[in-house]
């Protein structure tokens, strides 16, 4: 550990004193996942850190007790207190630390075979309740994102690594045989692609809204298929564009993002879109319109709340299949988001039928 001296005017306050253990004349204490062994001198100084005395005052006392040169003692104590602070054994009172910033959401760990994901000209950080999400984009789109999110845009001084989300709205190139699809990334993963950049703009907003759900709402790994205020939750199909065309043929459409936000009370509704963020997407949609490639994509499900009238599985239509396919995969033992989805889904299963995702006529029928 590199030693960092603290300021002589800092007022250190010891943490974890009651947890200290004496072994063979030395003091051991656990902090920040490690056990630290303090010499008798360091332990004595640590015990004197009451949050009132400054480091300079503590040094003067130590110098007097041990009959040492005060300047020499101070030079050692500022380093020692700095080390204690690094180890989480003291906090420096009055050090000017402000309130904690909202946590920055990070992309999931990368794997070697996935590459690094796309690069972006600019990154915008937006506040979504208790968290901050980063969005990568080209410079023009980034400015439009800032206008859309207005007061939610925040500055992050520290280096934040690759953005959590990335939006790619390719310029239409005259004479080119093909232009890449507009797409929304989450880390290295491509969440949605479309020939309609406006659809990707709406998908970005809807995806961000998932981080600011109402308290009782949960997220499921599911596509919301709907019509006329009613919805069926369907497992995310592997070939989404083909699925959307088949849906359109039976008069239904699907939400822009491969996640369903479900509000269970008073009866279960799928929240489609980003109404809770109260965004003005005009400038972003103008950028998207200028880059529109081709028409002909089936329309997306309009934003709004849809009563859930059925769930569907791609396997056999059983409760076990619904749980296996629609509950989000757990990320770590303490993932409360995935755990919260189970009771909501189980209660939903008591109220609605289970369909087969391949049976689009059946889905269309129940939505009528």
């Amino acid at each position: 550990m590199t030693s960092i001296a603290c300021a002589p005017g800092a007022r250190p306050r010891a943490r974890g004193l009651e947890e200290a253990v004496g072994v063979d004349g030395e003091v051991l204490v656990a902090a920040a996942g490690e056990v630290h062994v303090l010499t008798p001198t360091a332990a004595l100084l640590w015990e004197c850190c009451d949050g009132e005395a400054t480091v300079a005052e503590l040094s003067a006392e130590v110098a007097e007790v041990f009959d040492q040169e005060q300047e020499q003692v101070l030079s050692e104590v500022v380093v020692l207190v700095g080390e204690l602070e690094q180890r989480g054994l003291v906090v420096l009172e009055g050090s000017g630390q402000g309130p904690r910033e909202p946590a920055l959401l990070a992309p999931s760990a990368s794997c070697a075979s996935c590459g690094e994901g796309p690069g972006f000209e600019a990154t915008v950080h937006v506040e979504l309740g208790s968290v901050v999400a980063s969005i990568g984009a080209d410079a023009t789109t980034a400015r439009a994102i800032e206008r859309a999110f207005g007061g939610r845009v925040v500055e992050r001084a520290e280096a934040t690594g690759p953005p959590l989300y990335g939006i790619v709205l390719p310029e239409a190139r005259s004479g080119a045989r093909s232009t890449p699809l507009a797409r929304l990334h989450r880390g290295e993963e491509v969440l949605c692609t479309s020939r309609d950049p406006g659809r990707i703009v709406r998908a970005l907003a809807a995806q961000l809204a998932i981080h600011a759900l109402p308290a009782r709402a949960v997220r499921l790994d599911s596509l919301v298929v709907g019509r006329a205020g009613r919805a069926v939750l369907v497992p995310v199909p592997p070939r989404r564009s083909a699925f959307l065309r088949r849906l359109a043929a039976v008069g239904c459409c699907a939400a822009d993002v491969p996640s369903a936000c479900v509000d269970p009370a008073p009866s279960a509704y799928a929240l489609v879109g980003a109404a809770q963020l109260a965004l003005d997407l005009t400038s972003l949609l103008e950028v998207a319109a200028a880059r529109r490639l081709l028409d002909g994509e089936p329309p997306a499900l309009p934003w709004g709340n849809y009563e859930i009238v059925a769930v569907a599985t791609s396997g056999d239509p059983s409760p076990a299949s619904v749980l296996a396919e629609l509950v989000p995969l757990r990320h770590g033992a303490g993932d409360s988001e995935a755990a919260a989805a189970v009771p909501v889904l189980l209660e939903l299963l008591d109220a609605v039928p289970i369909l087969t995702a391949h049976d689009l006529d059946g889905i269309a029928g129940i939505l009528t």
């Binding site: 253990v21 656990a30 056990v35 497992p235 296996a324 989000p328 995969l329 189970v342 189980l346 299963l349």
Partner: protein, 295 residues
């Protein structure tokens, strides 16, 4: 929905889907019932976890079964209805089930808990803390093959009421077992099904059987070093607590470090390095004899 109600609802959902209920496993303080749509999975669980089976229904539900993964047939492992892994490889799914059972046993069990193996030699428990790959499972299997009572190869939990090492006789996990362990690995259900490709030795198949709760009398921190001669080094009291703490869980809980230091205050602690299993087993026997004599 309360946790118990949720587990009951998950059980009903699985049973109404035709999944079979397997055995209840008592894994330290983690109380779980297994479910699968494939009887072979439940038979394998019974074969491996025979020493921890309990009557009745557990508080939690650990399930493994077929489910669609997009357009492909896949296998999903879930705890209380929450998927832990979705995969097309049954052996990966079963490995996750075994890993999750162990993780939950660790999370559910409070007090002094170490990442360590342990066996009963004479009247004391020998505790073998170590990181993955240190050789603790191989060493405890070697001790068990020589007649020691097997307690665990992964989690040492001390009973709060008397400080004894609680038996957690999960199957011994041996990556590539050395030839000295051929006698105990021969009967293991290795490669017996599509779900299982490693070497897990059921506790009830070990010659020394499962040990009873026993107070710790010796700590040995093994480090496997291929071809190195067996060497031991005694740690002083401060080094012992620091070394144990490196392998301890729940230290952040109030009194965690104090409880650890108290529990092992009079227990001699050694580092053991080497590449010979018989040599390491002999060394542990010798150190145990010394510890008992000095006590």
């Amino acid at each position: 929905m309360a946790a118990a109600d949720q587990a009951a609802a998950v059980r009903r959902a699985l049973e109404s889907s035709g999944w079979a209920r397997g055995s209840r496993l008592a894994l330290l303080d983690f109380d779980v019932t297994t479910y699968s749509d494939d009887p072979a999975v439940l038979e394998l669980v019974d074969a491996l976890y025979g020493a921890v089976l309990a009557p009745g229904v557990g508080h939690h539900v650990l399930s493994l079964g077929r489910a669609s993964d997009g357009e492909r047939a896949g296998v999903v492992v879930a705890l209380d209805g929450v998927p832990i892994v979705r995969t097309t490889a049954p052996s990966i799914a079963f490995a996750h089930l075994v890993f999750e059972a162990n993780q939950q046993a660790l999370l559910a069990t409070s007090g002094v808990v170490l990442h360590a193996a342990a066996a009963v030699l004479g009247k004391v428990a020998v505790v073998l803390p170590g990181r993955m790959g240190a050789g603790k499972s191989t060493l405890v299997a070697g001790l068990a093959a020589a007649g020691a009572g097997y307690l665990t190869d992964e989690i040492v939990a001390l009973a709060p009421e008397n400080g004894c090492v609680r038996p957690y006789p999960k199957p011994v996990s041996l990556g590539i077992p050395p030839p000295e362990l051929d006698g105990i690995t021969r009967g293991a259900p290795a490669g017996a099904s599509e779900y299982f490709t490693g070497v897990l030795v059921p506790a009830h198949a070990l010659p020394g059987g499962v040990g009873s709760p026993t107070p710790p009398g010796l700590v040995v921190l093994p480090t496997y070093e291929p071809d190195a001669p067996v060497a031991v080094q005694r740690l002083d009291p401060v080094e012992s607590v620091v070394a144990l703490a490196e392998h301890a869980f729940h230290l952040e809980q109030p009194g965690g470090l104090r409880a650890l230091a108290e529990a092992f205050r009079d227990v001699p602690c050694y580092r053991l390095t080497g590449g010979s299993l018989p040599g390491a087993v002999n060394a542990v026997h010798e150190l145990t004899g010394r510890a008992v004599a000095s006590a």
